[in-house]
Symmetry: C3
Subunit: 340 residues, 3 copies
Amino acid sequence: VADSRFFRKDGPFTLAALAAACGGELQDKGKADLLIDDVAPLDSAGPGQISFLDNKKYVEQFTQSRAAACLAHPDMAERAPAGMALILCQDPYRAYAMVAARFYPPSPLRPGIHAAAHVDASAKVAAGCQIDAGAVIGGNAEIGADTHVAANAVIGDGVVIGGHCRIGAGCTISHAILGSRVHIHPGVRIGQDGFGFAMGPAGHLKVPQLGRVVVHDDVEIGANSTIDRGAGPDTVIGAGSRIDKLVQIGHNVQLGRGCVLVSQTGISGSTKLGDFVITAGQAGLTGHLTIGSGARIAAQAGVMRDVAPGETVGGSPAVPVTQWLRQSAILGQLAQKKGR
Amino acid sequence: VADSRFFRKDGPFTLAALAAACGGELQDKGKADLLIDDVAPLDSAGPGQISFLDNKKYVEQFTQSRAAACLAHPDMAERAPAGMALILCQDPYRAYAMVAARFYPPSPLRPGIHAAAHVDASAKVAAGCQIDAGAVIGGNAEIGADTHVAANAVIGDGVVIGGHCRIGAGCTISHAILGSRVHIHPGVRIGQDGFGFAMGPAGHLKVPQLGRVVVHDDVEIGANSTIDRGAGPDTVIGAGSRIDKLVQIGHNVQLGRGCVLVSQTGISGSTKLGDFVITAGQAGLTGHLTIGSGARIAAQAGVMRDVAPGETVGGSPAVPVTQWLRQSAILGQLAQKKGR
Amino acid sequence: VADSRFFRKDGPFTLAALAAACGGELQDKGKADLLIDDVAPLDSAGPGQISFLDNKKYVEQFTQSRAAACLAHPDMAERAPAGMALILCQDPYRAYAMVAARFYPPSPLRPGIHAAAHVDASAKVAAGCQIDAGAVIGGNAEIGADTHVAANAVIGDGVVIGGHCRIGAGCTISHAILGSRVHIHPGVRIGQDGFGFAMGPAGHLKVPQLGRVVVHDDVEIGANSTIDRGAGPDTVIGAGSRIDKLVQIGHNVQLGRGCVLVSQTGISGSTKLGDFVITAGQAGLTGHLTIGSGARIAAQAGVMRDVAPGETVGGSPAVPVTQWLRQSAILGQLAQKKGR
């Protein structure tokens, strides 16, 4: 299915191997040796292909699918068409991620420093790294093993990057310490000055920004997002957090573990998020707030006060989500009355 | 008028030549040989210069303008000052675009591959291309004739780019197929991973993103915008679409022909737009929606449901625009009552 | 305090020297020779360190701080703990900026053009400039004295940049004239085409963008922001203005002196701001508006009409801020009634 110009496919694999890869259970052990060659969506999958059912909206497609095999929840087993082999699992989407990664593993690195890369003599680049053309690595920077620094990326003096990281083309990183398995997309900006100055009619006076950006392990930061370094304390991105495209994170912001920030979110200076906070697209948070673990912020919400752990808020200014929905409903009713 | 450090001016041209260039009609054939040397706004144009009247707000300026010539709708002819030559046309702004392009054509390319560009030996670069310093072109990539790849742009392995394209400085393109006459601004990111993972308390597991970005002919994509590749299906940008700056387009999104997305718009995964859809600035669309052809989305609208062809919506959550305006009016009235 | 991998510290300085640096007054002249070695926050500062009190929220921390010295307003002097030396000043945050800059001055440039920079033979680079690896400087460009052009930045043909500027890594500048002491962050895009075309069912026809971007002295432009050049008139950024990250400024926009645009603000074409206008995060302004000097635009506001000098507006569509707050309050009350 995937374009071979961009993706290298492994396989085929037996159904048993795929069940093992995703921790699922073969419904029919007799099919353990069935060879599967690729992943595909329910509606286009055919012989030799495996699909997944994760959303009840697609049960109809499931019942009519010609996929050779499917990842599905045990509750759905009886709806499967005749002849379809099933791998039963509690979370079929997660299982699909593991199976798809088996067929399409990340491209192996081509270790080495390109002749047109510019690595300062005092920088330390560990074994197995791939440093592409035009990449610039500053003085005393440290790059961990098996990390990829793509073309035209710029790593500033003293920056530390862990092992197995992917640093995208054309991004810039300064004043930062990154953990392992961090994935930085192209065009990301990390470590520039925060927006700190003493305002006044005689001019706005820059306040030196003396902190860093600390990015923990297994973080992904999407294309063209910007993360400012701290003003004195650090800006911190907790382990496993996922940041989408065009997100802005101000100085001193702290994200806990596993936070998910959807694209175009903006978080102002010194706001602290707990673990597993989710902000939907274009959400905005003002500065110096505390957002509890597990909180959810709706799309385009404008958050101007603290949010309790587990709370869901929406609207601008943001209020608890049930109140926001009621407000929208009332407004609609008033407008309809007036429209008559 | 235009700064000669940045713009090379052609001309002068006769009024007849300019009328032919824009498909307009000379009001006074006796002025066919009048020489025109430049374009200029109504309020500053003088002898030898041509202007245009497109907006009734500027009729006063028109009647007092000292421009030698003007592009105007036939209905406006009688308001012209004495001595002003007119080229009559149905769409004076469009005519202006053609006349201005006559005076200020795009700079011709300087074909060749700069000694400091890095073009993989397996890449195919067609005749007439200009590849600037620091540009990187990956393995098996294909660049069509007369395309410009500006400085420090990075074109990934296998990417296909058509002819007469302009690829801006410092942008990055991977996993993508581009048509002809596509204009990519500086800093654009095309083809990076979509925001797809299986969420869970044990960590968010990446789902391999196995699709591409397909950009059809005559598309323009503004500076620092980001277009993610598909998760399995492709992300598609229809022919002639115009995307402004800092726009985010998620995986699997499909745009029809001639769509216009104003700056800071965000479109979440798998949403489909028909032809000639317009989204104003900072509009946000959630995922898996269908937006009909000719629909219009107001600035800052938050669209959370399908939009019918030709419908105009506004507000967050978005509602039909007349309802949104009524809501705003009612809210204003209530607040005024309370304020008393 | 600051990580020595990224920041070079000067000092120690006497208290008298620091008072002189910020224009403050020593409360106890007998402590003029006290040596101070670093800045630190109130709650962590200790012997040899100076802190500041700017916000009444932190008076408690102030009274318990073990900082050797503190910058404070005279009104706060009597709340200081015993043994703390005070530098009295009217604006302690501004004074802190000056003191911190004394300890952490900008890194001195390493003048010279890197062997892997690409400077056109016709470009003029003044004395004292540092041009890093991969930077590209076009034909007839002019770079003033003591300016830093960081790695992989691209300066287009004819661009003029003043003295003592900092041009960030990976940014692109074309069709632009910059003053002195301008600070451009990484990834900024200046001078690309504005979003101008004649729309129509036969396709959207590009209108040549014939203006420039003019950036006056002492401006700061944040990472990944985009500033389009004018369509005919120039786009102008007034002296001392501060632009945060991911801000979009359309063609022909004019900013007066000292404007402050917080991150993800968007300003559409031809809108004019007076002096010292503030737009908070994610604010959006439509085109062709006039925003008076000293006006303030709340976060996420959607401004669709002119704003008077000194006026504060909020909401979308934006209204005077008091009305916006009343609207939000009323909506909350109606929703609570309904909720019962």
